[in-house]
Structures are given as structure tokens and as C-alpha cells.
């Protein structure tokens, strides 16, 4: 009568079911714009030191909770709290603690640097399903070269240890770039020494606000990315697994993920959008109601144009992760090819062979 269905497949099945019914079961609340670190490759970075200078532009704790109540009535189940850096908000627990009594599966993304022992202890009283911390290097020199803040490596390690001591579920991840890829193995060893799961990603998106970004300077070459995904389990993502298994591309639909069908995001000012990387349509749930705002997001996605004819005709499409968000960030359209992805898709084809090719290049 009760099922102990495996968590991963269950979550996938729930998302499939929700997408068919247009139920917003997956939501991201970006609690703040600002961060205490200034990583050059970050898509969200807005350095704010220790205090938020944009408090007036961000929803209050009461507004976040009102939004959560309405979202719950519409079906929200998986809730990610992220930023910026969520622990920069002095009222983080005024938002977090009531959320933990509402029946959400909560994940918190943080850089860990502000997680003192008292904060970890308080989180442990009603822990999220998972905290995810990004580790930017295995040494202070590399980590701080990326974050631009002296002392941040030690602070991050202390934050991790505070969470471990308090038994808060924790996963470590890393964003791989030219500056830290040499320390991948050492980061993995650190995670294992702490007894933590670890995964990495090398996809680096530009800023959705199209403001200056140093991301090109950080990206690995397409060949390096593909070498990593095919030899290193921790840096293989779902897409590369699909690519390796030769999963057929099933649809001409431009939005192939669950955004706008089962997932949404709300930015710190309270705009509801398709995803963090695609800040459209900017619906206003606190003004028109959550359900109406969600319907705007659904409409935006369902009326999106098809991918460009170049992409539809592309033989390497099965190995490509372009989506409207990537097109918007890289070339200001919702539909056109993204050269960063074209390079990766080409490198994958070279490595794995075309899906129909029985003799992939070894």
C-alpha cells in the first residue's frame, strides 16, 4: 500500500505526469540578487559583500510566504531556494522555517561560506532534503582565484563541516572551468574524505541579463568537455548519458525540458519566468495571483516558435543541448543555433559517432 519507489525514477515520473497536466510542481525561488563571492563565470553574480544593497527590490519574507502558499495550492512540490547567496538575507529563516512546515521537498543552493555553526544547527532542526554547495577548487589559491574573495575557501570548508557535524543532507558539486579543471580529482577526494556525493558540470551559461560576462574566458574547449563527460562519471550529465546511449531526439518542440509545463522560477523582485536563464514572460504572481501568472508562463512556452530550420535539419542535434534560453543568451533569439553548443555537438559526434552509426569513432 505504500511504495518505496526509488527516488530518482519517482521524481522523473512525477515531472512527466505534471508536464502532461501543466502542473507547476517544480519551482525556484531566487531569494536574492546578491552574492558574497564574485565568480567571473557566474550567470547571476551581483557582488554585495556582506549586506544586500538591493533589499528594496527584493520580495519580503511575508511576500515569499504568500507566494509559497498560493504555489502550494496550485501543486508546487519541489522547491529550490537559491540566489545570489541565500544566507545573505538576514531574514532567511523567517522564510525557510515556515516553508518546511508546508509540505515541500526543499533544496537549498549555497556557496557555504556563511554557514556558521549556529546556522547549521538551526537548519538541522528542519533540514532541507538537500543542500548543494559549489566547490570552486581544492586549494585556496584556485578557489579564491575564481571567487575573487580572500578567505572564502576556508569559509566554505568550515560551512561544509558545520553542515556535516549537524547531519544536514549535503551534496558537493563543482563548476569546471579552465582555472580549476586540474583540481577535479583533488576536489573529488575532498568530497569523499567528507563522505559526500560529488558531481561536476562544465556547461557555462552567459548572463541572462546580457550584461558583460567573463564566461568565454572560463569555458573549457568542446574537446575537453567531451573528454571529461566520457571519462569522468562525476562530470557526465543527463544529456551526455543520453548522447552516449544514442537516445533519439523525439520532438521538434523548442522547449524540450519541463520549464513552463511543470516548472517555473520567481526572481528576487517577484517576476515569474520560464527558468533562471530565460527571464520571460515576467508575470507578476503577487499582483494577478499565482495561478494566473503560471498560466502566462505556460502560454509563453506553448506558443514559442519552433527551433530554426538550421537546427531542425542539423545532423548533430541529438548531441546538442541548445534550448530557447541558450539562444536568447548567446544570440538574442529564441530559435537560432548556438555556436558553443555546435562545437560541443560536433565534438560529441566525433567521439561517439552518429547515433545511427554502428561504428562510432573510438
Amino acid at each position: 500500500m505504500t511504495g518505496t519507489a526509488e527516488y530518482g525514477p519517482l521524481v522523473r515520473e512525477l515531472h512527466e505526469r505534471a508536464a502532461k497536466l501543466n502542473l507547476p510542481i517544480n519551482g525556484i525561488f531566487e531569494l536574492t540578487f546578491v552574492c558574497n563571492l564574485r565568480c567571473g563565470m557566474c550567470y547571476a553574480r551581483q557582488f554585495g559583500g556582506k549586506r544586500s544593497p538591493v533589499e528594496g527590490r527584493e520580495l519580503s519574507s511575508t511576500q515569499w510566504l504568500e507566494l509559497a502558499r498560493q504555489a502550494k495550492d496550485s501543486g508546487l512540490l519541489f522547491l529550490l531556494l537559491t540566489g545570489g547567496e541565500v544566507f545573505l538575507r538576514n531574514d532567511f529563516f523567517d522564510i525557510y522555517e515556515p516553508l518546511t512546515r508546508m509540505g515541500f521537498m526543499i533544496t537549498v543552493f549555497t556557496n557555504g561560506c556563511l554557514i556558521t555553526a549556529p546556522i547549521a544547527k538551526r537548519l538541522a532542526q528542519a533540514p532541507p532534503s538537500r543542500v548543494e554547495i559549489s566547490l570552486y577548487g581544492a586549494t585556496a589559491a584556485t578557489y579564491e582565484k575564481i571567487t575573487g574573495v580572500a578567505g572564502s575557501f576556508a569559509a566554505c570548508c568550515a560551512g561544509i563541516e558545520n553542515l556535516i557535524v549537524n547531519r544536514v543532507p549535503l551534496v558537493l558539486k563543482t563548476t569546471l572551468s579552465r582555472f580549476n579543471v586540474a583540481e577535479l580529482e583533488d576536489m573529488r577526494q575532498m568530497a569523499h574524505a567528507w563522505g559526500l556525493k560529488f558531481y561536476g558540470s562544465w556547461l557555462l551559461a552567459r548572463r541572462p541579463d546580457l550584461q558583460g560576462s567573463e564566461v568565454e574566458n572560463f569555458r573549457l574547449s568542446a574537446e575537453q568537455c567531451v573528454e571529461l563527460e566520457s571519462t569522468d562519471q562525476a562530470s557526465a550529465n543527463e544529456l551526455s548519458e543520453a548522447a552516449i546511449n544514442g537516445m533519439p531526439w523525439e520532438s521538434d518542440y523548442n522547449f524540450y525540458c519541463k520549464a513552463g509545463r511543470a516548472a517555473f522560477t520567481v526572481n528576487p523582485s517577484g517576476d515569474m519566468n520560464v527558468c533562471i536563464l530565460l527571464p520571460k514572460p515576467g508575470a507578476r504572481p503577487l499582483e494577478i495571483g499565482f495561478h494566473e501568472a503560471w498560466m502566462e508562463v505556460v502560454k509563453y512556452v506553448s506558443s514559442a516558435p519552433a527551433p530554426s530550420s538550421a537546427c531542425l535539419a542539423c545532423g548533430e542535434r541529438v548531441f546538442c543541448g541548445r534550448c530557447p534560453a541558450w539562444s536568447l543568451m548567446e544570440n538574442g533569439t529564441l530559435t537560432e543555433p548556438v555556436p558553443y553548443w555546435c562545437d560541443i555537438a560536433r565534438a560529441r559526434t566525433k567521439r561517439y559517432g552518429r547515433p545511427s552509426d554502428p561504428n562510432p569513432v573510438p
Binding site: T2, G3, A126
Partner: protein
């Protein structure tokens, strides 16, 4: 017996799930899927109920005989008790 208040029933697209609240997150490691009968019983357990009351309610609701309903109720209640999700 009555259910404890550190689990919440959520329905997502017709699928009933038990979600842990507060410190319960640490023991449960995820969600629990309930079938229709189990989720009906869980709702009844918001109030103090005896096994006999649950059996009668399940038999009525699903139009099954008391033996079948009794077997279902006992299986589920045993499960709940073992997991520490109800108080007797």
C-alpha cells in the same frame, strides 16, 4: 490510533505522496507513495480511529467485504506503526 503530525499528504496529478516535515526529513530520505486505499486511511487517521472503524470505512468506501478491507487496513497500519508514523 492517530497519525503523527510530522508527515503531510500531498497529491500530485492524482498521485498521493507522504512528505516528511521538520526533522523527519532526516529519517525518511525522500517521499513515500501511497495507493488509493492507503491515502484514504491516512486521511481518516487525522482523527483518533480504531482498527474496526477503519475497516468499516474502507469496506464502505471501496465496496469490498470486511475480510478484504481488514487485511488491507492491517497491512497498512502495521507498516505505519513499524515506521513510527502513527501513535496508538
Amino acid at each position: 490510533m492517530k497519525r503523527k503530525d510530522d508527515l503531510m499528504l500531498q497529491k500530485v496529478g492524482g498521485q498521493a505522496l507522504l512528505i516528511p516535515l521538520g526533522a523527519k526529513v532526516l529519517d525518511m530520505n525522500g517521499m513515500v507513495v501511497l495507493n488509493t486505499t492507503a491515502s484514504f486511511i491516512w486521511e481518516l487517521l487525522a482523527e483518533d480511529c480504531s482498527i474496526e472503524e477503519l475497516v468499516r470505512a474502507v469496506a464502505d468506501r471501496f465496496e469490498v467485504d470486511a475480510d478484504l478491507a481488514g487485511a488491507d487496513v492491517r497491512t497498512f497500519v502495521d507498516d505505519l506503526y513499524r515506521q513510527g508514523w502513527i501513535e496508538i
